[in-house]
């Protein structure tokens, strides 16, 4: 440190996020090494990639203008997706209540809690497409598999949020209600539900929105909805139809988000 005539240092460095220089540079070096390693380890067909960009351009040209001529097919597919989303969201909302309450460590007895948590973890680990395949195998192709898939996804999502909310709730309010001699169901209604209800509804509506997004995809493995139409259009190089479908999906999700934001604001 150099010192001016006043005796104070003239150079100052702000503290870094990671103080230890060895750790800091070590992490940086590690990150670079990882990049090199992973890119090398992946079997990348560079020849194919270099062809990729002109192909992308080709694809864009074929996409525009979007082809809405087969709109009946489009509408049918989208309607099915939306209906799947609605039905699954509703069922998920309802099923999430017992599961969420059971997965709260301050509410449920320990074995129940552990079991419920296990269910939540299991259902969230696997991507919904894996669940979709599973359900297609069990109940056959079509919308039923899609609904069941999204019910699993919705239930696990909402119940996880619910359990977190219950675990974070203000314990004093519950204590007061218990002190009046109220039984458990009354405790639920008066102390627990008022605290978690707004967020529960908000999360459920958010999930409805997410389900609309996900329902467009489960069709790829045969679980109903627009996904099937989309995958078919790609495999047949009908890119202009693909673009039409994609635009409709974007529009639908956008509308869904506006609707969900509006409702959640009114819930405050």
């Amino acid at each position: 440190m150099s010192e001016a005539s006043t005796g104070h240092p003239t150079v100052w460095r702000p503290p870094k996020l990671i103080e230890n220089p060895v750790l800091r540079y070590g992490l940086l070096a590690g990150a670079l090494a990882y990049l090199v390693w992973s890119l090398g380890a992946l079997e990348i067909d560079w020849a194919r990639i270099s062809v990729g960009l002109p192909r992308a351009q080709n694809m864009f040209e074929r996409m525009i203008p979007p082809d809405f001529s087969r709109w009946e097919l489009l509408v049918r597919g989208i309607t099915e997706s939306v209906l799947i989303a609605f039905a699954a969201s509703f069922a998920g909302m309802i099923l999430a209540v017992p599961l969420g309450l059971a997965a709260a460590v301050n509410l449920a007895p320990r074995p129940v809690y552990l079991f419920a948590r296990l269910l939540v973890v299991l259902s969230r680990t696997f991507h919904e497409i894996i669940w979709a395949i599973f359900f297609v195998k069990i109940v056959g192709f079509g919308a039923l598999a899609g609904v069941l898939t999204l019910v699993v996804a919705s239930t696990s999502f909402i119940s996880k949020m619910l359990a977190e909310d219950v675990e974070n709730m203000n314990a004093g309010q519950a204590e007061a209600v218990r002190a009046t001699g109220a039984s458990f169901p009354k405790l639920l209604t008066y102390a627990i539900v008022p605290q978690i209800l707004p967020r529960y509804l908000g999360v459920s509506i958010y999930r409805l929105d997410a389900n609309i997004r996900h329902s467009t995809v489960v069709g790829i493995v045969g679980a109903g909805g627009i996904g099937q139409v989309l995958a078919a259009s790609f495999s047949r190089y009908d890119y202009d139809f693909s673009l039409a479908i994609l635009l409709v999906i974007i529009g639908l999700v956008f509308l869904g988000e506006i609707f969900s934001n509006w409702i959640r604001k009114r819930l405050r």
Partner: protein, 280 residues
């Protein structure tokens, strides 16, 4: 009325909060429990209605052995004890009226409670109590829209809705400013006397305790080290309860006592307690 014998509480982490406390309240008096933090005041109060299960000992309320009750019996017993909390513990998102009515939860069935259809006597009593604590007209307000003092009044109304045989009050004034604290203490003591209900009040403000309580109990390290009238609370006694300190300024002098101790005439509609002042 209330008899506590040999109450012991050891927490799972090994902390011994109560070392065998004995206490008897045989008249409808207000008993202030004082002591430093960690002395066991909060534990003692919560052991009485078993919000904290005692490790050993007996608590008998008007002939019922609380410590021996099963789940259903305990719920019935809890209805007979009204509790007032330091942090008010109102359900914030519910209205004032719902909070007050929740005092009757031990007495109504689930569906009535769910649909908020309480018996007419209870609703009328709730309105009356709200009037009494100075909150008439506020029954539709959401609890979290109220100030601290107002919330505590709702808490008091809720406890009294149970028509309890015993009031358990845990540091009712700790979160309040000095003026509101006195108002609340006065309210609690007045109501307890009006209804002939004995009350056990945890309080850390010795001056407040001396000024309002009929009897004082001092806890130190989980043991009762003092029991007597406020006048008997000498600096030596305080040293036993809290430790060495200059107590002369804390103790109220007897002439101050007379100005404060005479409670206002019984309320009959004109508010004895100033409603909705800025500090209330």
């Amino acid at each position: 009325m209330l008899e506590i014998s040999d109450l012991v509480k050891t927490y799972p982490n090994g902390l011994r909060a109560l070392h065998g406390v004995n206490l008897a309240v045989d008249r409808p008096v207000v008993v202030a429990v004082i002591g430093s933090s960690g002395a066991g005041k909060s534990t003692l109060i919560r052991c009485i209605n078993r919000l904290v299960p005692p490790t050993s000992g007996k608590v008998v309320l008007n002939g019922t052995d609380i410590t021996a009750l099963g789940r259903a019996g305990l719920r019935k017993a809890r209805r007979r004890m009204g509790m007032i909390f330091q942090e008010y513990n109102l359900v914030e998102r519910l209205t004032v009226m719902e909070n007050v009515l929740s005092g009757r939860l031990g007495y109504v069935g689930f569906w009535r409670a769910y649909r908020r259809q309480f018996p007419p006597e209870d609703v009328a009593a709730a309105f009356e109590l709200l009037d009494r604590v100075g909150l008439s007209g506020r029954e539709d307000a959401r609890a979290d829209a109220l100030s601290g003092g107002q919330r505590q009044r709702v808490g008091i109304a809720r406890a009294l809705m149970q028509r309890p045989e015993l009031l358990l009050v845990d540091e009712p004034t700790a979160s309040l400013d000095p003026k509101t604290a006195r108002q609340i203490m006065r309210l609690i003591v007045e109501l307890a006397h009006e209804r002939g209900t004995p009350a056990l009040v945890n309080i850390h403000d010795v001056a407040l305790a001396q000024g309002f309580a009929d009897r004082i109990v001092g806890l130190s390290d989980g043991r009762k080290v003092f029991e007597g009238t406020p006048a008997e609370l000498t600096p030596d006694a305080l040293t036993e309860i809290y430790g060495e300190e200059d107590w002369s300024s804390t103790i109220r002098r007897s002439d101050d006592d007379e100005e404060e101790a005479a409670p206002p005439a019984r309320h009959d509609g004109a508010q004895a307690i100033a409603p909705e002042t800025a500090a209330g």
